[in-house]
């Protein structure tokens, strides 16, 4: 598969000398969904701002579909890659939602009718019909997040970079946003790079994870990363709640060979175990159970 993003030996220092990134190497294939995880200050946002050329590469280089970002014009970069910022108030800078969504397409040089078409499409796909004339301060946080995504989608980029897309969202808005992102990936094949602390969302949102802590610590599927206890501990990373729950159930004798990462996996796994065990599951407490629960606690209590 074609490479959408290639990062080679990227290093970056802040003006005060603090190292933000060190020899970062990364490859993202077209249509792939990538999650970047790491503790606060790991350099996730800095890396993302390099992907869209906001930060110029001091050392190393970033390529989008084989073209070096530093050699591309801004108009060429924004055609390829769209970025949704963490705080929607940073991104919704125009007085009305319509103006904001139209901002990108107008900058791309599109004509009036084409801009309106793009705006209508983005508004429809994000379920924001009727909000066109609404001022951003009149939107809820969830609506602002969707509006930020609509504003980027109207530019029809091939790569979407999202900084903490599910942060501060209520459960309904969070689920809705995850659904929208997955639909965009399925329907339009958009490549996604998502920086997130929301480990419960990762199995639903990402095919592959890059663990970042100034440098790339590890890469792998969510299952590979979440099973690496040592890596999680060293880099203050967490695992999905459902994964922890089934892991602790093992201490009580639950026979589960493949720990689930999502609720869907949990339901199918549980059904399989119950069916093979004659219609029920058996949990027990023995003397060693308490020791095992203690070990389980130690395994995840590194926060």
């Amino acid at each position: 598969m074609r490479e959408a993003i290639t990062v080679r030996d990227l290093s970056y220092k802040y003006p005060d000398g603090t190292k933000a990134l060190e020899d970062v190497n990364m490859e993202v294939h077209e249509g792939e969904r990538i999650a970047i995880v790491g503790p606060n200050g790991a350099g996730k946002t800095t890396l993302m701002l390099h992907l869209n050329g906001t930060f110029r590469c001091m050392e190393g280089e970033v390529e989008l579909f084989g073209k070096t970002v530093s050699k591309l014009k801004r108009a060429e970069i924004v055609k390829e890659i769209g970025m949704v910022f963490q705080d929607p108030d940073d991104q919704l800078f125009m007085p009305t939602l319509f103006d904001d969504i139209a901002f990108g397409p107008i900058n791309q040089g599109l004509k009036g009718d084409e801009v309106r078409e793009r705006v209508d499409k983005a508004i429809m796909s994000l379920g924001l019909s009727g909000y066109e004339d609404r001022a951003p301060h009149r939107l809820s946080f969830g609506e602002k997040k969707k509006a930020s995504l609509a504003a980027v989608m109207a530019m029809e980029p091939r790569i979407l970079v999202l900084d903490e897309p599910t942060a501060n969202l209520d459960p309904y808005s969070r689920t809705e946003l995850i659904g929208i992102l997955n639909e965009l990936n399925d329907r339009e094949g958009i490549t996604m790079v998502i920086a997130t602390h929301d480990v419960n969302a990762i199995p639903e949102l990402a095919d592959r994870i890059y663990a970042l802590n100034r440098r790339i610590i590890e890469t792998g599927t969510p299952r590979e990363i979440f099973f690496d206890g040592e890596l999680l501990k060293q880099n203050k990373l967490d695992v999905p709640d459902v994964f922890k729950l089934f892991d602790v159930m093992r201490c009580f004798g639950f026979n589960c060979d493949k720990l689930p990462l999502s609720l869907d996996e949990a339901v199918s796994g549980l059904t399989r175990v119950i069916e093979t065990a004659g219609g029920h599951i058996h949990l027990h407490i023995h003397e060693h159970t308490h020791d095992e629960v203690k070990k389980w606690r130690e395994k995840y209590e590194h926060h």
Binding site: T54, F85, T96, D99, A102, M155
Partner: protein, 256 residues
Amino acid sequence: MVEYPEIDRYSSLDSVMHRFDPRAKLIAFLILIFSIVLLQDLKLALIGLLGAILFLIASKLPLRFVLQHIKWVCFFIVPFILIMPFSVHGTGIFHFHGLTLTYEGLEYGILVAVRALAAVIIVLPMIATTRFDITIKALGELKMPNMLVQMFMFTYRYIFVFVIEFQRTWRAMVARGFQMKTNLYALRTIGKALGTFFIRSYERGDRVYQALRARGYTVKPKTLVEFKMRASDYVWTVVIIGFAVSLHVVPFVEVT
């Protein structure tokens, strides 16, 4: 619920002023404002004030909203009426502890107050009857320098964000026992809070610029806007500008 300082709160009402083309409205009323503030005759200024009130009535803006906005301006107008009668030389009407209240001073004080009040009243049908973002776009259409239009646009967008942020900071201070008093400690604390607020605003400015660049900002942002002048817009423009001109021409014709 946050109370926003929205001048265009009643822009969705329906009145002749609401239907008036924003560009023509801006030009016509600005001419009228200049016309009134340049008047030297109290009678004419009162006619100007009467005209301003009629345009305000035509705008159907709620009285409470109007008074809410005018009251602040009155704080600046009242001192003129109080100080001018004692500071302009002329025919004395009243003497008090060495101060002389003069007829000319009183007339001049009232003239200044009437002109100011009329100008402020006209601002309401001019600005409050159109969504503020459309007013900004109209300014752009009227060839106002792009940099100024952008400044208006971003200020209008972010004033609401800052209001929320400042209220949040204030609540956090009150939640930790801060009491607003007129002492050095309170002033120092407010100074520090404002300092933090400015730094936060600066950081936000940085992030907003990054977001602008990420969407291809080229220093000349354009918006899609369609204004169309109708017959009624021409009629209102002629009426308002005609009124503004007549305030200066009619007395001149009468004298000659």
